[in-house]
């Protein structure tokens, strides 16, 4: 999602967040992010990168050592305990291991935030019925968490997080304990809820696939530092940092099958063989570039792999070709393709 020029004030703003435990290396080192209303913002990183701590700084389950936390225009760190509890009701949270009370039914779990806020019984029942419908669990109201599958438990977790009609939903590895199929269902549910309730979602994950299918923007966290932030499409198609490239490769896959380059026929005299990685994105992604470059620059192109994918609704293609031709012609062909806005790099 493009951020409009006159961007509204961010709904969640973390500014210069620092946190360390004891004398260890800092868990978070000057991290700043701004989440716009209505967007799904992903924070991705390896385990131990500090993403869980960062997420908990939003509702102050973790108090940063330094920095500023603003949620819906409120300076969270300035709130007294009672005001903080009230503010937390406006921030829903979903957990990796669901964290449902085993002693309560599904309906009572969903009503829990309402019960502690002192909402009347009739209103609670009404709201629980709505929420059960929203997450598709109407028939499970009287079941206990033990009787549910992982995906169903997470639906209960989401319904509970939404009970107090929060403006922000924090997702802490919400799909990491689920199988791929269930993960897809939960991601669809979260996206659908964002669209219907104009929710703002801030999620953390170590799975780039989650970012690819769900997020509008992404921040990459590495050892407590923010290394890259941007629209998901941009980070996927043009990762700038080494760690971002590794994360992207996990989802996009390695473009040249290992060992394939070694089996290529040797080039003729005065010619060269160069393996090129071509990324098609934007307006020229559908143009017949390969045959055109072959004709114009008298190159023989041996296609090694190719795929078309979609990120955030935008198509993009990734292709690896072995280009045979005179070195100067290959250079010229690369320059021509780059002139069309394609991302062409030599595969090492």
């Amino acid at each position: 999602m493009e951020v409009p020029i006159a961007a509204p004030p961010p709904l969640v703003r973390l500014d210069g967040i620092r946190k360390s435990y004891g004398r260890h290396a800092p868990v978070l080192d000057d991290v700043s992010i701004a989440v716009q209303p209505g967007e799904i913002f992903g924070i991705v990183g390896r385990s131990g990168a500090g993403k869980s701590t960062l997420l908990r700084c939003v509702n102050l389950l973790e108090r940063p050592d330094a920095g500023r936390v603003d949620v819906a225009g409120q300076d969270m760190l300035a709130l007294d305990p009672a005001a903080l509890r009230t503010a937390r009701r406006g921030i829903g949270m979903v957990f990796q291991h669901f964290n449902l009370l085993s002693s309560l039914t599904v309906a009572a779990n969903i009503a829990f935030p309402l019960a502690i806020a002192g909402t009347g019984r009739t209103q609670q029942r009404e709201r629980v019925r709505e929420l059960l419908g929203l997450v598709g669990l109407t028939d499970k109201a009287e079941a206990y968490p033990r009787q549910l599958s992982g995906g169903q438990k997470q639906r209960v977790g989401i319904a509970r997080a939404l009970a107090s009609r929060p403006s922000v939903l924090l997702c802490d590895e919400a799909t990491s304990a689920l199988d791929p199929e269930t993960t897809g269902e939960i991601l669809d549910l979260i996206r659908g809820l964002r669209d219907r309730l104009s929710l703002t979602v801030l999620l953390i994950t170590h799975e780039m696939a989650v970012v690819k299918t769900l997020c509008d923007r992404v921040a990459i966290l590495d050892r407590g530092r923010l290394v890259e932030t941007g629209a998901v499409f941009d980070v996927f198609t043009r990762p700038r940092s080494a760690i971002a490239r590794r994360f992207v490769a996990e989802v996009i896959g390695d473009d040249v099958p290992p060992g394939a380059a070694g089996r290529l026929p040797p080039p003729a005299d005065h010619e060269e063989c160069r393996v090129l990685r071509i990324l098609f994105a934007g307006p020229n992604s559908t143009r017949a570039v390969i045959s055109e470059v072959s004709r114009r620059f008298r190159l023989d192109l041996n296609i090694m792999s190719g795929r078309i994918d979609e990120i955030g609704g935008e198509p993009f293609g990734l292709m690896a070709v072995a280009a045979y031709g005179e070195p100067a012609q290959i250079d010229a062909g690369m320059a021509w393709m780059q002139g069309l806005g394609l991302d062409v790099t030599v595969h090492s």
């Binding site: 509702n59 389950l61 903080l84 509890r85 009230t86 503010a87 937390r88 009701r89 921030i91 949270m93 957990f95 291991h97 964290n99 449902l100 009370l101 085993s102 002693s103 309560l104 829990f112 935030p113 019960a115 502690i116 806020a117 206990y144 968490p145 033990r146 509970r160 107090s164 924090l170």
Partner: protein, 220 residues
């Protein structure tokens, strides 16, 4: 069954009632005092709701100290205190005082363990929803720990049946005391056997009842 004279029947019945009194009353006191102690011990622990190292160490130390004193020594050591509370230092009520103190320390530790078994994620989730600490204690910790708390009560009751046999040292009476005095000192093995069988039955009943209740409460 020539030994089971009407007198002996009365003695057995009286002893059973005394045991029930000592165990029941001291268990009641232990639950009432032990639960708040366990809660304080739990929430003042590192990383818990209200971390307080000083309170936690002091309370933990006190509980450990009481638990380290052999019961028979505890019973005589606190005689002055017993006299204040029970008005006397001999008899069933007097025996109940040290029993209650020992059981309180015992059950506080068991309760604390049961509370620690509650997934910290549930506490975190409740905090994220804006729950107060009191709400977290009553609606999360106590509710989720309920099966463990009942199991702790069962273990305490069973232990108390055993401890109460030592109550004879201060004239507390009870089944164990009857077994010692008649079965052992007067060499009436049938009395001893009867007492032991009775105690086995009581313990079995308590344990089964406790287990049943735990199953009822467990939704996991």
């Amino acid at each position: 069954m020539t030994w089971l004279t009407p007198t002996m029947q009365d003695l057995l019945l009286d002893a059973a009632v005394e045991t029930a009194q000592m165990v029941g009353l001291s268990a009641l006191v232990a639950v009432v005092l032990g639960l708040p102690l366990a809660l304080v011990l739990h929430v003042t622990g590192a990383g818990q709701l209200s971390p307080n190292r000083l309170v936690n160490l002091a309370l933990g130390g006190l509980i450990n100290a009481v638990r380290s004193v052999p019961f028979i020594i505890l019973m005589v050591a606190i005689v002055p205190f017993t006299r204040v509370v029970a008005g006397t230092s001999i008899g069933t009520l007097a025996a109940t005082v040290p029993l209650a103190i020992a059981a309180t320390a015992f059950i506080a530790r068991l309760f604390e363990t049961a509370l620690r078994e509650v997934d910290p994620g549930l506490v975190e989730a409740a905090q994220a929803m804006g729950a107060t600490r009191l709400q977290i204690v009553t609606r999360v910790l106590l509710r989720e720990a309920a099966p463990g708390l009942v199991a702790a009560i069962t273990v305490t009751l069973v232990s108390l049946v055993g401890y109460s046999a030592m109550a004879g040292a201060v004239g507390g009476g009870g089944l164990g005391d009857l077994g010692i005095r008649f079965g052992y000192q007067r060499f009436m093995p049938a009395v001893m056997a009867t007492v032991v069988v009775l105690l086995i039955v009581v313990v079995q009943l308590l344990q089964s009842l406790g287990d049943l209740l735990v199953r009822r409460l467990t939704r996991r």
